[in-house]
Symmetry: D2
Subunit: 249 residues, 4 copies
């Protein structure tokens, strides 16, 4: 069977902006296995016209913490404010991580901490500053843990205020037990993981669903604020909420 070559991809992605954050432990981006999978999603988005900002978190001097600028909390330097500025501008957030002992990397946790540190910020509608953005997760490992890490990342993103489109996660793991990582060259075979139709399909689905959902939200001017306007809630607008009956004795 031949792969279908379309002359052009649909225009849904044209004026969208995506931030892709790789939380690999590898200081050198070219050595990151997760980075190779992330390339494929970025590549689709770029071809479709989306503007991409790629952050290799290990390259940046970002302290752990839950404040917006850790130089005001005892650290000498903090590159987070400029990273946040890029995140703030994006319509789509893609977080990638390797799996180590079943979990996301410590850099991925640090990223979530720093994002969490921004969660008090509201937009002009009184919504969390993340409203209007969509989020996805990309994972690779040579061991089990894909869905666990995906659930952790997607939960955090929706908790902060992102919308999560259907099947907004993808990844690759090798067979059970030690083995090669995604993209490792192998003797007389394709690089590890390159033959996985499952990984290719899910990466493609994730990428387009992020685009489609971001498009919908952008064209709608974000999610309406009725019911989620925290300033109005503080001013005692209850948006229809009433207390229930107690439980029967």
């Amino acid at each position: 069977m031949d792969v279908v070559d379309r002359d052009e991809l649909p225009s849904a992605a044209r004026d969208l902006s995506t931030i892709v954050i790789n939380t690999s432990l590898k200081p050198d981006p070219s050595m990151s296995h997760t980075g190779r999978l992330m390339d494929t999603s970025e590549n689709i988005m770029r071809k479709a016209g989306t503007k991409i900002t790629h952050i290799h978190l290990a390259d940046h001097d970002v302290p752990p913490g839950i404040f917006s600028d850790m130089t005001q909390n005892g650290f000498d330097t903090d590159e987070w404010p400029s990273i946040w500025s890029a995140i703030s501008d994006a319509d789509i957030i893609v977080v990638g991580t390797p799996i180590w002992l079943r979990q996301e990397s410590s850099l991925c946790r640090k990223l979530v901490e720093r994002l969490y540190g921004m969660s008090g910020k509201l937009n002009d509608e009184g919504q969390s500053i993340f409203y209007g953005k969509v989020g996805g997760a990309m994972i690779t490992g040579n061991e089990d843990g894909l869905k666990h890490c995906e659930a952790n990342i997607l939960y955090a993103l929706q908790h902060l205020g992102c919308t999560i489109p259907p099947q907004a996660d993808c990844g690759w793991i090798g067979k059970v037990g030690p083995g090669p990582s995604f993209g490792d060259r192998q003797d007389s075979e394709r690089p590890a993981g390159f033959d996985s139709d499952f990984t290719q399909r899910n990466t493609t689905i994730m990428t387009w669903n992020l685009i489609h959902a971001a498009r919908l939200l952008k064209d709608a001017g974000g999610l309406p604020s009725y019911g989620n306007d925290r300033n109005a809630w503080k001013d005692c607008d209850r948006f229809g909420f009433e207390l229930p009956h107690p439980v029967a004795d």
Copy 2:
């Protein structure tokens, strides 16, 4: 401060349909603490014009399993097909569960199994049959585990094909250690949990975000199928996907 009484709620919810599924272990719905919290979300939706179908799963004879009809797999009865029919018609799926030893109830797991059993079904666009629906999670417990259960349920729903709006989860737990459950009457005090502004606010936010996201998707005729059409993928349309470079040696 007075609660703001609006004469009417916005019309976003008017022709939407919601299925609310309580997976409490209590056979009697009136005894379910989770059910009391779910009432509040249903009540908002009903006032806003959404059609509600409420399923108390413990009331129904639904075997565990991962097939669409377990009477063809060794069980005498299976009420799942009629429950599925109601789910299938809904724009919004709300799943509620109590927490027992940190986790969702076994009935909640059974619900996810049965939903998973439908995941091979595609709509006319070649998308998972859950595309176009939105999902949320409501949890109560007298012990810790809220976010863990929320993450589990929301992950499953997005994996199946639902869109997850921002902050699509809410709940209540008591203070650390044994204690009353949500809605339990207490001497000379309001019923347990009824004074939690946090729970009230998050329930309201969840409810309206489900409505807003369902409205967006319904008006758009669902999520576009470019990139997530599984039939087209089988026919080798790759939607822009290309393999990456191998990892650097």
Copy 3:
């Protein structure tokens, strides 16, 4: 290389008693993939002299719930009391489950609920009734989720009062994406998973560590009760506990 055949296994397991509980969704035990992996652990234990009781939970009429006998809570039948009697007699508890959508089966959750329903029972030392027992977890799936399910089961067992020996978990999953399950016959190949040295090794390690830890605890007459005697705690013995200083302002 030849496999080493020892004439006899060590005698550590001689008077130990193990309960093995398979929470497969398959009503027919011979169809359970998880059951095939569990056979290997049981086989080692049996050869080593341990008495085995095997429960295929799907074969038993056990309602969900958190009480010790659900016939007193609205159900007509409940086989749990006799299952509990077998668990109660065992030195080692092994729980097996398949993975469905990343999680343990609903039957596994039901098992944990019913075990949790016994957690108020104390032994003569005022300890949880599970003290003195050791626990392990065995998982199979044709999809990712091994360590997540293992962590869930082992956490529950230690919370109830079991000791968890090192590496008390094992399992097998297929390569990423759909595929055969453990023990499925394959054309011109060994059954799925039978070539995994990783699975074989970890199953063996788990099995012997359960035996070794149960031996230690049994020979010691269980864990000493100083500090964990809940009756003494109620009587205000604090076993050395003192409140700390507040956090610095």
Copy 4:
């Protein structure tokens, strides 16, 4: 009721050695809420005669990564080797973490990564270098996530080779929603969390169970190596393992 004052604590803990690692994000240990809870466990152990080494991880220059010495992997400094030396000498490992957005801190994840980087090391018996040690987890937060974080930490420790005694975890969280953290001073009340009998009891139980289990293992000279000796496995000793039958067609 009066608290029972015993003249002396039992001698089980006398020659044991404990490493306590606080992965709080606070650079200043005196500001750590988790640290205050950890004090109580340390205090019991110290009174019982256990030698304590306390590490406040945020005080140390430890890069993320999965190697035993990151100065050989691109980092200028790495204090891990000396921390590892202390861990290596200990009979008991206690890991403490705050909860941020439902999860352990990024420093806790970094600790697990660095421990994981040692997992290839075997002792003279061919067992993981962690065999013979016992592990526990202490968590505080002003939000839900206690058991989730406990399960994550305990799973990692047992995976590495620690034994997990019964109920080897404890913690405190405030009531649902924002609020004070453990040990925060409060107007006209005791510091936050200081009135929780549940937290006090579970901290005491965890502490003594760690002592009891470490005592048992130390007196036994560790866990026997039959079945878990990885060198023997490589040399094809199978310790009784045999492949099962395939699944029935």
